[in-house]
């Protein structure tokens, strides 16, 4: 048993030595693998962050309740207070028609045009902030219904349609990334397969002689499998560097962008388990690509 592990260890070092002896070719393979793996991993990270962001935006959703023109200021305030008692509502803010107009003048730049109007075209608004616990779509929908049932309400609007659309898109995009990941995984297998095929060809006579002195196929395969595994692992590590480095580059502008929508959104890269998974996938694909290539080409080398 001790011998068994020792032999594997020796083979591992032998494979490392073989890779080391052709540094340029090895680096190139690893770079190709790194880029190939970085693409789906990077997209995955971006989508993950986007999903988190859209979730945060959803949490900060507000409902704008536009009151009918006929509603008097005092009854409007009463409605505001009553709404504030709803168990799903965090707080409410009443903006009278006058205040609304002032705000609009200030921010819209249409100040002069509005001054020319005889009557205030804007209705009074109650800004309703739902509780965090009520942030899921169903509860929000129910809340909206309750508010709309009040016949003094002209229109209650949850500005969430686009967030919903975004998250639906994100689900779709994630699927797309998985599909891409599968294709690029295939690419990794083919890349490794090709380098291993070359290695097998280069060492054809060695393989032949090893077979002639009684080396089993498993024995002959072993260094190639290690070689594929190591290259896959290093490629995955390269991909990790690319993803984390890329995130550093876009972190600043990204946080500026997201701060417009929701406060304190941290961009998160690949965490421990995700990094582990990436490395595992890289190593497995390397092993698999090597196994497929070496199995195929070993059969072509006589003798059996």
């Amino acid at each position: 048993m001790k011998n068994y592990f020792l032999r594997h260890f020796q083979t591992l070092f032998f494979s490392l030595g073989q890779l080391w002896s052709t540094p340029v070719a090895t680096l190139m393979t690893i770079a190709v693998l790194g880029i190939t793996l970085a693409l789906p991993a990077g997209l995955f990270v971006v989508l993950e962050n986007a999903q988190q962001a859209s979730g945060a935006i959803k949490d900060s959703a507000q409902i704008s309740v536009f009151l009918k023109k006929s509603v008097s200021e005092s009854s409007a305030k009463r409605i505001t207070k009553k709404l504030a008692q709803n168990k799903n509502i965090e707080r409410t803010r009443y903006i009278s028609a006058r205040e609304a107009l002032a705000e609009f003048k200030k921010y819209s730049g249409f100040g002069d045009a509005i001054k020319a109007m005889k009557k205030n075209p804007l209705p009074a608004v109650i800004i309703v902030t739902p509780k965090q616990s009520a942030a899921d779509p169903e509860t929000l929908e129910a809340l909206l219904k309750t508010i709309r049932n009040n016949n003094q309400v002209e229109l209650a609007q949850l500005d969430l349609e686009w967030v919903k659309r975004l998250s639906a898109f994100l689900v779709l995009a994630k699927r797309g990334v998985w599909l891409l990941a599968v294709l690029l995984g295939l690419g990794v297998i083919l890349t490794i397969g090709n380098t291993i095929r070359l290695a097998v060809t280069n060492r054809r006579s060695e393989i032949e002689i090893t077979k002639l002195v009684g080396g089993t196929n498993a024995f002959i395969r072993r260094p190639f499998l290690y070689s594929g595994l190591i290259q896959g692992l290093l490629g995955a590590f390269g991909a990790w560097l690319l993803v984390q480095g890329g995130l550093l580059v876009i972190a600043e502008p990204m946080s500026q962008l997201t701060s417009l929508y929701a406060s304190q959104l941290e961009i998160s890269g690949l965490d421990g388990p995700q990094t582990g998974l990436l490395l595992l996938i890289g190593a497995s694909l390397g092993w698999l690509g090597s196994r497929l290539a070496v199995g195929r080409h070993l059969r072509e080398i006589n003798p059996t």
Binding site: N3, I209, T210, L212, V213, G214, G215, F219, P303
Partner: protein, 228 residues
């Protein structure tokens, strides 16, 4: 040790390299196989080591039925045969030591045992002081002896040598043949393909002659030869 019964070999392309060859080799025997170029000597060795499969006939080597031996058993089967090739088949990027060690490495021996046996084997062929050299820095005769050391390092009961003295001078040829003779004396079955009639005369061992893939002479059935 080796039993052939009506062995025929047709290569892809239709050439019949061996035609219904029948003979037996007893354990511990020493046999020369001779015949013109293209007679089928190498083909015969390839069949015995399962590098090629016979097209027809029954083949037994080392009490194993080669017709029925499945591919995955072949490596284990070959570990009991020491094969010496005319073109050495040495690994040029490995030292003499590593070349000779290869049969032991593939069967998973531990390092100390490998060292002991490789040294013993190199000692036998007189190359102990060259273990760190690479094959290309050796003379033709020395390379051939590295091949022999590798073939016997496993202590196989059967040694096959395909023209081991192909292009060596008389003195070197004698030395190498004497080495094989020595293995034979120590109980190893030895089969040697050669064109070298001088060696056949010198060693007076059994001779099998092939021509056009057919067995045309076997000294075992030649009372005159055996009487000498």
């Amino acid at each position: 040790m080796i039993q052939l019964e009506n062995i025929s070999k047709r290569y892809p392309g239709g050439h019949d390299a061996l035609k219904a060859v029948t003979f037996n080799v007893k354990p511990e025997e020493m046999v020369f196989v001779t015949g013109h170029s293209g007679a089928g000597k190498s083909t015969l060795f390839k069949l015995i080591t399962l590098i090629e499969r016979p097209t027809r006939g029954i083949l037994q080597v080392n009490n194993k039925n080669c017709n029925k031996l499945s591919n995955w058993r072949i490596p284990y089967f070959r570990r009991d045969i020491g094969i010496i090739f005319q073109d050495h088949k040495l690994l040029l990027d490995r030292t003499v030591f590593d070349n000779v060690a290869l049969p032991l490495v593939v069967s998973g021996l531990n390092h100390r045992e490998i060292q002991r046996r490789v040294r013993a084997s190199l000692d036998k062929v007189g190359l102990l002081n060259k273990e760190k050299l690479y094959p290309l820095t050796l003379s033709g005769g020395e390379q051939q002896r590295v091949g022999i050391a590798r073939a016997v390092v496993n202590k196989p009961p059967l040694i096959l040598a395909d023209e081991p003295t192909g292009n060596l001078d008389e003195k070197l040829s004698d030395e190498i043949m004497d080495l094989f003779y020595d293995f034979h004396v120590h109980g190893v079955t030895v089969m040697i393909a050669t064109h070298d009639l001088r060696q056949l005369k010198r060693l007076q061992k059994r001779v099998i002659q092939l021509a056009e893939g057919q067995l045309v002479y076997d000294s075992e059935n030649d009372d005159e030869y055996n009487a000498q």
